[in-house]
């Protein structure tokens, strides 16, 4: 099996090294790196802006471009959080805790070097896991019937919405709301218009690009206009030289085991559909702190902390592609957009994906490695440029981005109605964000709703309306068990939190 995998990988390198594919992959990585550094420009925003552009590309180039943006941004965001204490991406919040103190001690270069190393290890292991295990997942997936898919989707949806940051109940509410938005349009089985409110443009459903760009583009700009802190040129992170980035042997020794542990944790989270790199990074940081002999060092520049969280982020990002491509179930919102890029090309991800489109799958795998190497090479000379870019005023960034949003949305269907749709979602997204509702679960629910509904209906047809089918089939029952377990753990955590808050309030009132 390993032999064929290696052969396939070799074939993939052949695909990825074709000049045009290499160019698009480089372009994606570069753009990703750039937006990762820029605060206020998320990966989701960028991918949704560039999504319409990919319609003109070949499927391979489109996927390489979008995937490159995704993992390129992870590197960029790491730079930003280490040097300037700005977590541009939620999965890097933990990196800030320990890496920024090092920057303040003048060891920012070393922190960057360690981060790059552990990211590279994490990503490489993630890719190896992808190569070895995707065929296993495919074998498993071929036994999946509608009941199994439904249970897995349910698990993914609940995991994705409760494990993102913020209140889990609100996350689930947003997910359900997203699913309701997914219902809009023509019903596939009966042809009935649902929730179109007499607007003909809605009969095709809500356009994913409009939804994503509204929520993450316009909504994000509404939130951050005039609120972005501009960076002054005198912070300690501004002066890092490439020579300082080489970590000493002692530092590497400290970082080695945490990197391995972080990688494993990240890989596990990558396999779970619905959970992205953010929970992986938090959990691996917490684990490292528990395992450490000197937990008091955490928060003051402990190398273990950010080495493991970065490794987990990167391995998770790579492994995330397995459920997305082999099951057609996106691990998180970014993956959902990537999936839609493939669907637009008429390529259906699923168990047959690897055998039907080997050039895309293996080309993608190979391009990950090439992209990761490119990122390391890119990052070393470009750090100075990135840091200077951070002082680019926001007043130039957001109007230009708005233009790309409008024209991008317009071009998906050559319709200005879509631009109006985007504007409405922007306002809606902003209101939700202002009320502290997390937006990512909404997109997840929106994308998965058709799959959920279809598989639920099919399962019901096969079992003649007997709900017990979900429990009677072993794989489906296992997923449901995991779902219940997840909910139980979450609600215990919630109850504990609530009790803590109440007691804190009580003691506060007593003190008064």
């Amino acid at each position: 099996m390993i032999g064929t995998s290696l052969g396939n990988l070799w074939y993939g390198f052949g695909v990825a090294l074709q000049p045009s594919n290499l160019m698009w992959s480089f372009f994606g990585v570069f753009i990703g790196n750039l937006v990762g550094v820029l605060p206020g420009m998320g990966v989701l925003t960028t991918i949704s802006i560039l999504l319409p552009l990919t319609y003109a590309l070949s499927p391979i180039a489109a996927v390489l471009l979008l995937a490159g943006i995704f993992y390129g941004a992870q590197y960029g965001a790491a730079v930003c959080s280490i040097l300037l204490n700005l977590p541009c991406h939620p999965s890097h919040v933990v990196t800030c805790i320990d890496a920024y103190p090092l920057t303040r001690q003048g060891k920012g270069g070393m922190a960057l070097g360690i981060t790059m190393m552990s990211s590279f290890v994490g990503a490489s292991v993630g890719i190896i896991i992808m190569v070895l295990f995707s065929s296993v997942v495919v074998a498993l997936a071929l036994q999946f019937g509608p009941a199994e898919y439904f249970s897995l989707l349910l698990f993914g949806l609940l995991a994705g919405s409760t494990m993102s940051k913020g209140d889990p109940i609100k996350g689930v509410a947003m997910m359900v709301f997203g699913m309701l938005l997914g219902v809009v349009g023509t019903d596939v089985t009966s042809g009935v218009f649902r929730f179109t409110f007499g607007i003909l443009d809605l009969s095709d459903g809500i356009e994913l690009v409009a939804l994503a760009l509204g929520l993450f583009g316009i909504g994000e700009f509404l939130k951050s206009v005039n609120k972005m802190v501009s960076i002054q040129g005198n912070s300690p992170g501004m002066h890092v030289r490439a020579r300082e980035m080489l970590p000493t042997l002692a530092d590497i020794r400290v970082a080695a085991w945490p990197t391995v542990r972080g990688t494993l944790i990240g890989a596990i989270f990558g396999f779970l559909p619905g959970t992205g790199p953010t929970p992986a990074s938090f959990i691996s940081y917490a684990a490292e702190k528990k395992l450490s002999k000197y937990p008091e060092r955490f928060g003051h520049g402990a190398i273990e902390g950010f080495a493991s969280s970065e490794a987990s982020t990167h391995s998770c990002v790579q492994v995330d592609f397995i459920p997305t491509l082999t099951l057609g179930i996106p691990g998180e919102a970014v993956m959902a957009l990537l999936l839609s890029a493939l669907l637009i090309k008429g390529i259906q991800p699923g168990p047959q994906f690897i055998s039907a489109h080997p050039s895309i799958f293996w080309g993608l795998v190979a391009s990950f490695w090439i992209g990761n190497v490119m990122l390391i090479i890119l990052n070393i000379p470009l750090i100075g440029l990135w840091v200077r870019l951070l002082s680019l005023p926001y007043r130039y960034i957001y109007p230009s981005a708005l233009f790309f949003i409008c024209i991008g949305v317009w071009s998906t269907r050559s319709s200005l109605v879509l631009v109006a749709e985007t504007l409405i979602f922007g306002i809606v997204g902003y209101v939700f964000a202002a009320l502290e509702f997390e937006i990512a679960p909404l997109l997840l629910g929106f994308v998965l709703e058709p799959l959920v509904e279809e598989n639920f209906r099919r399962a019901m047809i096969f079992s003649r309306g007997d709900l017990a089918t979900f429990v009677e089939r072993p794989i489906s029952a296992a997923f449901l068990c995991m779902t219940v377990l997840l909910l139980a753990v979450q609600s215990i955590g919630l109850a504990r939190l609530a009790r803590k808050k109440i007691s804190a309030n009580a003691s506060a009132t007593l003190a008064e």
Partner: protein, 141 residues
Amino acid sequence: MMVLGCGAAFTGSTYRLGTLSRMGPGFVPVALGILLALLGAVIALNDWLRGSRTDAPTVWHLPDPRGSICIVAGVFLFIVLGNFGGLMPATFGLVFVSSLGDRSSTFKRSLLLASGLAVFGSLLFRYPLAQPFPLFQWGAP
């Protein structure tokens, strides 16, 4: 910390949404609507309980009025001008109005940025990317 009224509004509107469509194709929407209504109620209840226990002031993350109005107006202008004037005026209107929303931007700078993007951007999308969006047109298409 949060909403009281919004939770209720949320609940009300979702009930209506849920029961709107028929059974059959409407089965999933109804189920989702009821679920969302319940969740909305739980959230509202949670906030109400929390609100009565603590006297924490309600923090509304208020938008920056100038910025948000300019952004919304800019996109709106893009739709109107795109319909009646073509891509180039639409782009100009969008970028000019929305960039005025930033407190640190000046009239002159916005004008420059807007004209630059209008010319460069619309030509880029019109010719190399071949989008069928007319640069200029008068009246409704």
